[in-house]
């Protein structure tokens, strides 16, 4: 596991009014879409844990970290980083039509994957009820209710959901009778990861078809076949 330093260069509000931070860091520290970094302020002895950071936007010399972030973090602060950690999204080479579904209050963590897909000239459709920043016009924006229809169109589905939403995923996708989605896909599952990838605490246990897996080690991006 690699360690780096990053400086908070700027803060901004996302469309939901939550704070995002621009971290200036070495290129080797940049997380791939779906991966995360662990960050803490070395001068803050009162903080009990590091904060997991996911990218909302990747830059050449850093990234915008998605909310939630510690309220004490301000521009100029130098953070200690570990990572990148975990399994991120992996688009198969033959994907041409990518469906993104953000089931929670933010689509931020899917946007780096959208960035990557657009660079590869893929068709991208985003399904969400969350408020969105200004996005390239080539990304088609749709309500979540249209997601079941999109599964017939998409070559690949990427989902962002919380661990509490896992049990309702089949319903959101319009699937019945235990049938799997028509297209392959992956899901980025939000779970508390206090142990930072050591797999020691069990707090990030995600129920899957057979038993459970750990988001910090086996994820946080899982193949949809884990549930079908």
């Amino acid at each position: 596991m690699h360690a780096y330093q990053a400086r908070i260069g700027e803060l901004r509000l996302d469309p939901a009014g939550q704070v995002q931070a621009r971290l200036d860091c070495p290129p080797a520290a940049l997380p791939a879409p779906g991966q995360y970094l662990l960050a803490y302020d070395p001068q803050d002895a009162s903080a009990a844990l590091a904060t997991p950071l996911f990218a909302a936007e990747l830059l050449a010399d850093g990234f915008w970290a998605a909310a939630p972030l510690p309220p004490a973090w301000q521009p100029g602060l130098v953070l200690a980083l570990r990572g990148p950690l975990g399994k991120g999204f992996a688009l198969p080479g033959d994907v041409r039509r990518l469906a993104l579904a953000a089931l929670g209050g933010s689509a931020a963590r899917l946007l780096p994957l959208a960035q990557q897909a657009l660079r590869q000239d893929l068709s991208v459709a985003l399904f969400t009820a969350a408020a969105l920043p200004r996005l390239p016009s080539s990304i088609e924006i749709n309500p979540l209710g249209m997601l079941p229809e999109a599964l017939a169109w998409a070559d690949f589905l990427a989902v962002d959901l919380s661990v509490e939403q896992v049990e309702s995923l089949a319903g959101v996708l319009g699937l019945q009778g235990g049938l799997p989605p028509a297209c392959p896909g992956q899901a980025l599952v939000s779970a508390a990861m206090p142990c930072g990838g050591s797999g020691g605490c069990g707090a990030c246990a995600i129920p899957v078809r057979r038993g459970w897996k750990l988001a910090c080690q086996d994820g946080p991006v899982f193949d949809l076949r884990a549930w079908w």
Binding site: Y40, P194, C201
Partner: protein
């Protein structure tokens, strides 16, 4: 050396439930600063994750409510016994026991393994003195036994447990309760284990109370600085177990703290 002697390479170790079931081979360099590796808690049968929120932060720390998920002892042995034998530091297997009889099934499987430096037996939170003694006696065998006492009763139970044959006692995280909102927004209570800097004053006081009675104790609870570890050792603790600080600052702390405590 008596078969009951605990041997640590240095007085630093991880607390049970912090670093998984076996030292990861790719972390060998980082873990070389560990005096002993304590496994995640293992029960006789498989345990599934607890329902509901698993990690709840609060000022000064966080509460974990995980249910101690694990595959059960037999599966864990198949997966990890070889790595325990290859570990560069003594491995202490933490046993999560609910019934005294569990130990009669677990001990024979563990005592024939290589690489084990001892057992740590985690007692149930509501255990009384007679049950604590019964667990301790049932754990007696070829391996030295550390008995991890419920934090709230540690000072009270330590004398009887050591008298019953424990090589040392250790401290479980204290337990607490937080109020959270469920899916529908209505509040409910979540009980779990407490970690974080706010635990340290309680833990240091408990260690001092136990060592004042001349009893062997491995200190644990909210240690976030080398100075705090040093203070526990200076109070007479045989060793200290780290928890949240490992997760916050990563494995690099082992070699750093080991050199600072030398």
């Amino acid at each position: 050396m008596s078969k009951y002697d605990l041997v640590f390479a240095n007085p630093l170790m991880n607390a049970a439930g912090t670093l998984g079931f076996a030292p990861a081979s790719h972390d060998a360099q980082a873990l070389s600063g560990l005096g002993a590796f304590v496994t995640d808690p293992l029960s006789l049968g498989m345990r599934t994750p607890a329902h509901g929120p698993h990690c709840l932060p609060y000022p000064g720390g966080f509460l974990l409510h995980t249910g101690y998920p694990n595959p059960g002892l037999n599966t864990a042995l198949r997966r990890h016994a070889a790595r325990w034998a290859r570990a560069s530091q003594p491995v202490i297997v933490h046993l999560l026991v609910q019934k005294v009889e569990d130990l009669s099934w677990m001990l024979p499987r563990l005592e024939r393994l290589e690489g084990l430096g001892g057992l740590e037996v985690g007692l149930p939170p509501e255990v009384d003195a007679s049950a604590a003694v019964a667990f301790t006696r049932a754990a007696a065998g070829e391996l030295p036994v550390i008995v991890r006492l419920p934090f709230e009763q540690a000072v009270q139970l330590a004398p009887a447990v050591v008298d019953a044959g424990a090589a040392a006692v250790s401290l479980s995280p204290p337990r607490g309760t937080l109020l959270v909102a469920n899916k529908s927004g209505s509040p409910h209570l979540v009980e779990g284990r407490l970690y974080g800097p706010s635990v340290y004053p309680l833990a240091l006081a408990a260690v001092r109370a136990i060592t004042a009675r001349g009893l062997p104790v491995i200190g644990a609870g909210g240690i976030y600085t080398v100075e705090q570890a040093r203070a526990m050792l200076a109070s007479g603790a045989l060793a200290v177990q780290l928890d949240g600080i490992i997760w916050k600052e990563g494995l690099q702390i082992w070699n750093c703290w080991k050199s600072m405590l030398a």
